[in-house]
Subunit: 412 residues, 4 copies
């Protein structure tokens, strides 16, 4: 009775250009060819590059963050054919494990420049910045944010099945409408299809051209299939239930995160890494109708890092913005205020604001919608685990300034 390791459906070579790999792609489109086949009820390992395909380096400059080419993101592994899966089925994705690549035990968190990507607080923090994280087993720490160390809540930022042509059309129209409606705003509100930078795996030139014109960008998650949900708790042992829209499912996965905070606020905000994910796939025939499913659902795994409930400091924010303007039940405004409250709290210890912005993006902070009905104020909360710090940040103890270095900035 022989035993051996699980099958790898692909192997990543970090020295190669992601744009040449046949098992990677960076748009959602039903015509991207299969990168491999997986049996129903099979468990496999899938390797993934980091979401930028290696554009960001392990160094002390944020020039790479400043200059990142966002037409290329995210590089996803797939799409994989899951045998027996058909439209209307639910694909059950049992995440058995997620690990960084053994020879690449590091990751990065970035703050994009306001004019190239931006982020949740870019009105206030417009400069590019970066932190490199070193992994030691389940823990990580950063030379750019001294004083913290924590266990990763490791997970994929993106997983989903390809849209059908019909679903894709819905997406493109819906987002085009928004872009049109917001044309007065001085920022991108959505990313339309973009031929530049497109990669379609082993697809031919014709496919590439078509996908460049029609393919949905990978940045947002979308209700019909999930995709870039950036749910920090989708970690080891989780089961995700995904709608299937095309024959064979065309499942893709990528954007692996060693850790992330709720909101992933700096956009490149998780600890981004190259890694390997172990998944058992199974198909629930006719599952969408059975569950009444419109969007993915999931059940978390049992091995999340645990802090006692009393080991968090919770900050409160309301839908009154930093200019004193009252918004109507706007949880987005409230969460931005909540984040700012944490920055004000932590800067007393000697961190600069960009370090904290990076930290809130990637550490396992809990972002909750507390009250959403007490007109006109939405109230959100953010729980900061105090045990990730190697000094005492409890409230009643006077804060003492420390030498806490600096994150990486871009050259000017």
């Amino acid at each position: 009775m022989p035993t051996k390791g699980l099958r790898y459906v692909n192997k990543v070579n970090l020295d190669k250009d992601a744009a040449t790999e046949p098992f990677l792609h960076n748009r959602w489109h039903p015509d991207i060819p299969f990168a491999g086949t997986i049996k129903n009820n099979e468990t496999v390992k899938i390797e993934c590059v980091d979401w930028t395909g290696g554009q960001i380096k392990n160094n002390d400059s944020a020039d790479d963050i400043r200059d990142v080419d966002l037409t290329k993101v995210h590089y996803l592994s797939g799409p994989f054919e899951i045998e027996t899966a058909e439209p209307g089925d639910v694909l059950v994705v049992d995440i058995q494990d997620v690990q960084p690549l053994e020879d690449s035990p590091w990751g990065f968190t970035g703050i994009f420049a306001k004019n190239n990507g931006g982020g949740f607080l870019d009105e206030i923090y417009p400069k590019p910045a970066k932190a490199i994280w070193d992994f030691e087993g389940i823990h990580c720490s950063s030379r750019h944010i001294p004083g913290v160390k924590f266990a990763g809540l490791i997970h994929p930022g993106i997983l989903g099945c390809a849209p059908s042509h019909e679903v894709l059309k819905t997406w493109n129209e819906r987002e085009a409408d928004l872009i049109k409606a917001c044309s007065h705003m001085d920022r991108d509100v959505a990313l339309p299809p973009e031929p530049k930078g497109v990669h379609v795996g082993s697809g031919e030139a014709q496919t590439k051209e078509k996908v460049g014109k029609e393919g949905a960008r990978t940045v947002p998650g979308r209700p019909e299939h999930g995709g870039n949900c950036d749910i920090k708790n989708l970690s080891r042992g989780s089961k995700v239930y995904l709608p299937v829209h095309v024959k064979g499912a065309k499942f893709s996965v990528g954007d692996l995160h060693f850790s992330q905070g709720d909101g992933e606020i700096s956009f490149c905000g998780a600890i981004e890494m190259a890694g390997v994910i172990t998944i058992k796939f199974s198909v629930m025939k006719g599952g969408m109708a059975q569950i009444g499913m419109k969007s993915p659902i999931y059940v978390p795994g049992p091995v999340e890092p645990q802090f006692g409930p009393g080991r968090y400091i919770y900050f409160e924010g309301f839908s009154v913005d930093e200019h004193g303007k009252q918004h109507y039940l706007d949880a987005t405004v409230a969460y931005r205020q909540t984040c700012l409250r944490v920055i004000e709290y932590l800067r007393r210890y000697g961190y600069d604001d960009y370090q904290i912005y990076l930290l809130l993006s990637c550490a396992p902070v809990q972002g909750h919608i507390a009250g959403i009905v007490d007109i006109p104020n939405a109230c959100t909360t953010l729980g900061l685990p105090i045990d990730i710090f190697d000094f005492d940040i409890s409230i009643e103890k006077p804060a003492e300034k420390r030498q806490l270095g600096s994150c990486a900035y871009a050259s000017s």
Copy 2:
């Protein structure tokens, strides 16, 4: 060395009209007279009526919900003078315990009519409805929502110190601006001062008139003092840090909840009850400057009901509304969609939608901001604990319709 119980600073009589009690009030205003004095570092018990002051009855009709007089809410106990507290201090509120009144072991969850209060889903569910909950020790169950039972995450929906005149002025101007800006909307976006229904404790007629004209409504929480935050985790053993704006703090508390879900989505959505809260008060002199505090912060207690992480089903929602319209990073829209996904899931077991809407409002569901940067979609999640049901709601098991009765509705 004698020992005895803690001091009660007031005692509630449920047979009396809340509007006549000298220790209750229902507006925020610095001129409302003190209802009692508490020493620094003293622990006391404070009794509270339910937030409506007894308007809602333990019966099987939602007529009382339909007809509720919202000019009177919330009845708060206080304001109490905390000795030594002065503006700029932080009041540390150590919540030692919260309990329902011993002779009133029940509470209610309501869905207000769209035209009298409304709620998070009132576009879809405009009718008034109600569920009565019976308490047995730490647990509750409802004849109006059979099949569920859970331990309460008991907490106050409102606590805060009185605003100064200056803070109050800010509130009134800020919210008036919103009302003006939204005058085209066919719904209330904020509640301006309202002389009708005002109650100012032991205050004289002159005070009452002034407070009626200027006093801030208690419905929203506000960043400067907290107030109606409706944070479900502010339970037994929590410590809350509140800004002090006036001499003596003028602390008030009320709106006790036996349990609440994140968002408290039906507005009268917690399990509302009369009860008693035990608080130890202490004053951090100069605390606001020391902490850099703009809004309250808190540390949860250690006795929250615990489910394993794998005992939740998490639903995902995105900022595409039920009409298919794409919104820009709108977490409020996303959370509404998330709630609708749960309703669709649970109705398969035989619940009607209003029952589920009530349940999501008051059961300990976890509402998270997952991703808030992936333009244009905000993604929120809602975790539904499966162990509150006495039947199996796991995903892969086909749902079976049950006889699950009905919540209380209004007569027509």
Copy 3:
């Protein structure tokens, strides 16, 4: 639809002599008359005196501990008739809540003198000692053990149904055999029936005499019915399944603990208190056969105080005693060594050994059987939660002696 509080089946008067109360008793015997009747599926409140019936006072001397009359313990509330319960059934005891009496917010932990009660470490710590604990809501602290504060894991030390005459006979014979076999030891190994101090509730003189001669002492738990199990996790929300041996069950409860550590090592080791327990009773007909039940089983409640797993220091002990003698897989010896390791660790901070002995008895420490098969050493562990201390006891930080006062001792 009227609502009111739950029924009290008895009310304790702390000014009265426990030995005169008709609803208390202090032996296990089937002939003790019922103290009241409870319906199947009824929820009631039962008040309890502390286990010594008020012998221990809230003062700073351990004279009362030294002189305690142990023929009288434990005073239990009951026995109550549970309608429909018959031998062979299982009584389901749903512990809805446990609270100290409102006007008696304190408790005590004692170390009995070696020659009057003793305890787990009495060879090393033979003197009587005491700590008084003050309750504030869910928390407790002691003037006799400064520097610690924790949330109680509140529970009954004793609950069980009366033995049948047959079961009682088994107990008496079995324990008499042990006493005989150990007659060479210089310590009590079991407590035989004892006419002195016996109390049988409303029972007549004849009953009293009979029970004095035959009644089982309440000190040990016993496999056939549970009784004095001292299981710290039998807290709010727990369900206990008890064998029924006599018609009507004759259920008794007492020995309420505000908190206890695994092992309750100082014997009077929990935080002993007078209090009230809320129980819903229900009867599983024929349950003993259905479950194959020989001893009680239980399911803990969901509201235990939680510390993260990383917030414990775990000490290891082995079955080599303090004289260097090797014992064979003796978990009792191992656990004693484990406790001694904690005392050695904590005394570095300025506590005296008796203070620590008291603390380990009553704080929520986790006592585990780690390895029980690696001949000849059993290995046990004891987890000490570090968050109960108001100073930092982490391992790598050098210990600093503090002024930590003294527990109460007896006059000499």
Copy 4:
């Protein structure tokens, strides 16, 4: 700034005979030569064979268990020199990760024959038996015990530093005394030094002979250094503090477990596997005196699989043995009874007793010392997590017999 993976201090080849590997040994002795050198504060990967060195195979017969050569166990990796460590120091072992070998994703749990190894229940279950476990990421399941699946609480069963000659002498004398004192018993109570089967890594014949005569067997953990503690919670992220007795520490590790229950009752009771452990080593100079350390202490990691407290059934056992004999505060007897109660409970579902015995040995069951002072009964409890079963084992639901196959037995 190059990055690469962590250093492996050794690499296991499962096709080679463990008895020939220079980095393995199977006795504790200070003269066994170093197998490598690790810097202070270095993080390394150490590969380990399973504790039997490959004697047990992935098949459906327990003949290998029956015939196992126990003179050879345990094969440990080491001893490693930790630079700067000297007697009196404490070696801090930061367990960054533990994983099965990638190409060996399986493990075994065995019940040794009563006459060759035995176990905790061998009086009742004397036959050899075996279960093979398959790993899928963090989870495991067994074809020999259908109906269960759980996340591993992965850990090393053995880690420790070599004894000094003086400590070794103490061990040998102490255990020889026990063997002598128990010569009347018909079972091994301890294992004296044994020349047969000894392996001393790269040691010469002379060393081998000396270690054969003097070397301590690896089976028991011992207070002075830890060793075979079999503490199930020493998992990912744990930090262990070990006494150093010889220059360079001579640290060894092995006996990796994918999972284990408290007690590891069947002796070969964990899920035994070959694997790799990632450790960061650091030296606390003079730590033993600073901490007052006599035995190892540890702090668990934050990623233990979590079940809610209410998702366990707890069984109670007392120190009355299965023959009805009363023992005096004997936690070992009590724990044996507790285990038997679980077997009686679970056999109702169709498992045979050996399957349950295996399961209790390796699943994450919680074994607690509840009461250890209520003469004459010790009370222990065992918590069985109900979520590891794929059918409902809750108490009030009548048990239904299932087809649950069989574990592997020996041929006769």
